[in-house]
């Protein structure tokens, strides 16, 4: 008898694991939201005749088995650990460099990039309006000293340059090349180690470059020292994909800048910052209260002389840069094309004398598919 149990010991273990997993799915509570991944998880789909016949039940059920696996987080960490044991420094497209820096690898640009460039060219050529364009390189392009040996991928500098060259045909376009100034400060903390964004310091250097190019007076950050706030313990999106132990968290810095009005997604707030978000995983979402289709910011009544209006088309990189711009414009209209369903040409007509700035980070510019809305 003992002999028999011994022979079958592994079969018993595996069978127990399989049935335990099954029971976990059946009786465990479905997790609703994954903080580390910052998204809602699929729940067990309801079985209906129509969902069964069009196959959507099967698809959703498979997704559910992926996302509600019992001990999913532990398994994901196990995978990361196994990768390390195999000497890998990459997991899910995120690569570990030196000084605790994580980088995103982009092997090639696809058709979407070509479309996006064409849509910007179309937009530039469609009107007399002067526009400013800024493509922000990502950390892997600037923090070269921290890259691991042989880090592969497209040259962002070359791609951005080529895009800017294409823009030189349009007299109404001014480009704000921020790559140079970021390179000058490459050894500073200008990108998060564990997140895909630039830090507020990086954004500040970007802001200084914008000021030069757009002829803005600009504000010296030294004047803001007294309003500086920081928060430690920030793990960003790169970390969510890379996972595993031994990675230091980031620090978020922001300046307590007053505004006379801040409205985003149809709601008014006292402050541009949502400090409640600092208590959650997704701390970067504190800037601008996250991404909304339309936000309007009125500068503080401090007697400073500013330009009238700016219309800014942007992704989340801009969220930590916008506060600086409140020293240069009375009113900033911020558009996130992903969530903006109204007509862009209508908005431009409503504000005929506003400055226009299009500012995106490179990876977003390569992959996002909402630029067609510029011509809407």
């Amino acid at each position: 008898m003992i002999r028999k149990v011994k022979d079958n010991i592994f079969a018993v273990i595996i069978a127990l694991l399989i049935f335990a997993g099954f029971a976990g799915y059946l009786f465990g509570n479905d997790g609703e939201f994954s903080e580390t991944e910052n998204r809602f998880l699929a729940k067990r789909p309801a079985l209906t005749l129509s969902s069964l016949s069009d196959g959507s039940f099967m698809e959703r059920f498979e997704l559910y088995t992926m996302e509600q696996l019992p001990f999913r987080d532990a398994f994901i960490n196990l995978k990361s650990f196994a990768g390390k044991m195999m000497l890998k420094n990459e997991n899910n497209g995120i690569v570990l460099g030196s000084d605790g820096y994580l980088f995103e690898k982009l092997i090639s640009t696809g058709e979407q990039f070509e479309k996006n460039k064409a849509q910007i060219y179309d937009f530039a050529g469609s009107g007399e309006r002067d526009i400013n364009i800024c493509i922000i390189p990502n950390s892997c392009e600037i923090k070269k000293d921290c890259l691991p040996a042989g880090f592969p991928g497209v040259s962002q500098r070359e791609e951005i340059e080529e895009f800017y060259n294409g823009l030189s045909a349009y007299d109404n376009v001014t480009v704000a090349d921020v790559g140079g100034i970021l390179n000058e400060h490459a050894d500073e903390y200008i990108y998060y180690r564990t997140d895909h964004h630039w830090t507020t310091l990086g954004a500040y250097y970007g802001y200084r470059r914008l000021c030069d190019v757009m002829g803005l007076e600009g504000l010296d950050a030294e004047k803001l020292e007294g309003q500086k706030r920081t928060r430690d313990g920030f793990y960003g999106t790169y970390y969510s994909k890379y996972r595993g132990g031994g990675i230091k968290p980031d620090t978020i810095t922001y300046y307590d800048i007053p505004v006379s009005r801040f409205e985003t997604g149809g709601t008014e707030y006292e402050s541009m910052y949502d400090e409640d978000k600092l208590e959650t995983y997704d701390k970067y979402a504190m800037f601008m209260h996250g991404n909304e289709g339309l936000s309007v910011i009125g500068a503080a009544d401090d007697g400073r002389v500013r330009r009238d209006e700016l219309i800014l088309f942007k992704d989340s990189y801009s969220n930590c840069l916008i506060p600086f711009l409140t020293y240069d414009y009375d009113s900033i209209i911020v558009v996130d094309l992903r969530y903006y369903g109204e007509s862009v040409s209508g908005l431009l007509k409503e504000h005929p004398s506003a400055d226009v700035l299009i500012m995106y980070n490179f990876m977003f510019f390569v992959e996002d598919n909402h630029f067609y809305r510029l011509s809407g």
Partner: protein, 455 residues
């Protein structure tokens, strides 16, 4: 549904096997039949009807052949075979022919909007083995449509082999014993197969995918060579992993499926390689194509012609595209050269024969993997003219897994594992670790392809 999914492991296996083991003997076939239908229909329910038609037609043909042997039987056999091949032709090859006719003429025929039914190449060959062997008098008429249906769509081998001919399992279909030893051995085989697919094939394959994304025009020579190695590792561990899982599940059901791979990469010639690679497929072509054509009994020229046909069809079976035909004929040429005397030379030179075989296999996989002939030429040219560099990052990330693949494919892993198996606790620890790692990689899977959708 595919084996290497959480859905299969944590839902299908516990539910299906509980029911299967609990029901009385005479209900086991119907339960297996129904379970297989759910397994197959999960992804594409519309093609269940195709399976059902195939079962019914061949079942009736079988009954009729049983009743009218001789002349009429021959006609019925011909009709059934034409039907089976016709279905395969229509669903798999019609658009290939339309494209090629359009390319050489101005016919402008519209393409037919069909997706390839999962596993059609496998189950067509399986059902043909029944009807042909029946005509030859090697197997009796199957009078139970459930039994025949169970044979044809049994979920372990339905979508990716091994190709189990009817005579292999006809006895077990009628009556089989399920023992603890079978379940244990089957489960062990399943876990090892799962590890082979999820841990090795998927990880090695990620590098191949990366080369595709980089674009063959941008890769260096060492990157291209590493790619050839990675694909060679990926396809073996993927395919063999699938076969092992199938054989293991079959064992757990009470069936004994034939071996499908026998360390193919240790071969010292292509002749040997094809005795070790996808053995059930080469066996099928030998028994149901090469020998009926006359094999080697009709003179030298006829033998060469027969081999040409077999390799042409073998290539074409793997996918409806020219590169697969090219791949088949590539082996035909190599086998001819070996027959003409090179084989004898290889026997005498141990090291050289291994180098030759591995290179021949690797080049073959490039023909297989790259469908577009222009891209294929580009890739092959990179092997020699791509310049150096760009390899460090990839060596670090894929070196260990590729090395592990090489060691396992060399047979070393088998010898070590045989040692480990002697100690039950060690074995249990190893298999549990493999299982948990597989779950971990499936839970965070960005890359888990099913390679046989073209077969």
């Amino acid at each position: 549904m595919i084996f290497s999914s959480l859905l299969f492991i944590f839902w299908f296996i516990p539910i299906f096997f509980t029911v299967y083991y609990l029901v009385p003997k005479k209900l086991k076939n119907p339960v297996l039949f129904a379970g297989s239908m759910i397994f197959y229909g999960w992804g594409e329910p519309k093609y269940l009807i195709l399976l059902a038609v195939s079962i019914l037609v061949n079942y009736l043909a079988g009954i009729l052949i049983g009743r009218f042997r001789e002349k009429a039987g021959r006609l019925i056999l011909a009709a059934a075979v034409v039907f089976d091949i016709g279905m395969l032709f229509f669903f798999k090859y019609i658009n290939f022919f339309i494209d090629n006719i359009n390319a050489v003429s101005n016919a402008g025929i519209g393409r037919v909007d069909i997706t390839l039914p999962l596993g059609i190449s496998f189950y067509t060959f399986q059902i043909m083995s029944y009807i042909i062997d029946l005509y030859r008098g090697r197997v009796p008429v199957e009078r139970s449509v459930i039994s025949l249906g169970t044979y044809l769509c049994m979920f372990p081998q339905l979508i990716a082999g091994p190709i189990v001919v009817y005579s292999d399992v006809s006895a077990a279909l009628a009556s089989r014993d399920i023992t603890i030893i079978n379940i244990r051995e089957g489960l062990e085989m399943f876990v090892l197969g799962l590890g082979s697919k999820v841990l090795i094939a998927n990880n090695a394959g990620e590098y191949w995918k990366e080369l595709e994304q980089t674009g063959y025009g941008n890769i260096t020579a060492p990157m291209a060579w590493l790619g050839m190695l990675a694909y060679t590792i990926q396809i073996y561990f993927d395919f063999n992993g699938y076969s092992m899982m199938a054989i293991g599940l079959g064992k757990m059901l009470g069936f004994e499926f034939p071996k499908n791979f026998d360390l193919p990469y240790i071969s010292r010639s292509m002749t040997e390689y094809w005795r070790r690679w996808h053995m059930t497929l080469s066996g099928w072509f030998r028994d149901y194509l090469y020998i009926p054509l006359g094999g080697n009994r009709k003179g030298r020229y006829r033998t060469v012609f027969n081999l040409f046909v077999v390799w042409f069809v073998t290539g074409f079976w793997h996918g409806a595209d020219w590169n697969f035909i090219l791949w088949g004929l590539y082996f035909f040429v190599l086998l001819m050269i070996e027959r003409a005397g090179f084989g004898g030379f290889l026997k005498k030179h141990r090291l050289l024969s291994h180098v030759y075989s591995l290179l021949a296999i690797g080049f073959g996989w490039m023909l297989f993997a790259i469908t577009d002939l222009k891209l294929l030429v580009l890739y092959l040219s990179r092997l020699f003219t791509g310049g150096f560099g760009g390899i460090l990052f990839y060596l670090r990330n894929y070196g260990v897994i590729l090395l592990a693949g090489c060691l396992l494919a060399s047979g070393l892993g088998h010898r070590v594992y045989d040692r480990i198996k002697r100690n039950n606790v060690l074995n249990a620890g190893l298999l549990t670790a493999v299982f948990l790692l597989c779950v971990a990689f499936l839970a965070d899977a960005s890359f888990n392809p099913f390679l046989y959708f073209r077969f």
